[in-house]
């Protein structure tokens, strides 16, 4: 204080100090603004989805479950996934779910790269079979989860949802969005590359 009073340029030193005080405030506002802008642009390009639920599934073994048969495939259980020697994609779907039907084409294309096992979530067996007859069947095995209880153990909050399972039964990747989105497919491709070494 006394320093400023004796300084011949006291007036401008005070102004400078007041300006400096505003810097952290402006900086904070700037950071918030940039973060908000990034979030909004991410929503537009699809890299950020506020509805995407980040279930803590990745990096843990598959839960204990048994799924009965759903025509035209055979059901499967935890042991089948633990006995895997190559990666498998687990895809929860339902005939009543429009995004699932939109995703089918992408699944049919993906089927050539890795086996896909389906889980008919809360679906009537005849409806699920009807969908696959109509849209094509990307699944090598299909289980039926009529009550949706197995889905809860997997942390599924809605269909479609997909999990990449590494040999040994480890969940290495998860998406709560459909594979018809290029971003989701890229994520899967990277995860698959990492698993295949």
């Amino acid at each position: 204080m006394s320093n400023e009073q004796t300084s011949p340029d006291g007036q401008s030193a005070v102004t400078r100090r007041r300006l400096l005080l505003g810097v952290p405030l402006l900086g904070g506002a700037g950071i918030c603004g940039v973060a908000f802008w990034k979030m909004l642009s991410g929503m537009q390009t699809g890299s950020f989805n506020p509805h995407d639920i980040n279930a803590p599934a990745t990096g843990r073994p598959v839960p204990d479950f048994t799924l009965p048969d759903q025509t035209p495939g055979t059901g499967f259980a935890t042991a089948d996934l633990k006995a895997l020697t190559r990666p498998v994609l687990i895809n929860f779907f339902a005939s009543w779910c429009i995004p699932c039907i939109a995703e089918m084409e992408a699944l049919l294309a993906l089927q050539k790269q890795l086996p896909i096992w389906g889980v008919a979530y809360k679906d009537k067996p005849e409806n699920a079979a009807g969908l696959l007859k109509h849209a094509g069947n990307p699944y090598t095995r299909i289980g039926s989860d009529r009550e949706g209880r197995v889905a809860i153990d997997w942390g599924v909050s809605g269909v479609p949802e997909s999990f990449l399972i590494a040999p040994g039964g480890m969940i290495v990747w998860h998406s709560a969005a459909g594979l018809d989105s290029p971003e989701v497919r890229d994520g899967l491709k990277n995860a698959l590359k990492a698993v295949s070494g």
């Binding site: 942390g155 909050s157 809605g158």
Partner: protein
């Protein structure tokens, strides 16, 4: 006719009140104490479909399933914390309507204290500036002061 309209209006007005999510009394546990515990747990869990409602308030299919799971666990005699932990293990902390205090949520929880501190500091600074900011003496004034002091 007027009576009919009035009755319809009454039904419309009371609709939000009637919108109980537990749409089937058979969902409820027979033991009222356990049912109260299950309701209290459900009120803390987020419906992942509607996202800003608790599973106890939501009529989404998944919310109904989760309510059922909660009641099964409660009927088995589990504590509320055990049931919530079971849910968090599957859906992550997002399922909890009030986020726990972690490194990631520290700013969120600290915001009221932080806002109060910022307010106090700026109030002190504004007050201080108003009272203790005499304009410094110019060279001429200082010379005159020295002159006056020397006169004595």
């Amino acid at each position: 006719m007027f009576r009919l309209k009035a009755a319809l209006l009454l039904v419309c007005l009371s609709a939000p009140v009637m919108a109980w999510a537990v749409d089937d009394p058979s969902e409820m546990l027979p033991d009222p104490k356990q049912e109260r515990q299950a309701e209290a747990i459900g009120a803390q869990l987020r419906c992942l479909v509607c996202q800003n409602e608790s599973i106890e308030d939501s009529s989404a299919g998944l919310a109904r399933d989760l309510r059922k799971v909660v009641r099964e666990h409660v009927a088995r005699g589990e504590s509320s914390q055990q049931v919530i932990d079971w849910m968090v293990a599957r859906y992550g902390n997002f399922i909890r309507l009030s986020p726990p205090v972690t490194i990631a949520t520290l700013l969120l929880w600290g915001m009221p204290v932080l806002a109060l501190l910022i307010g106090i500091v700026s109030a002190i600074m504004i007050f201080h500036r108003r009272t203790a900011m005499p304009t410094p003496l110019t060279e001429a004034e200082q010379a005159r002061l020295r002159e006056l002091a020397d006169d004595r």
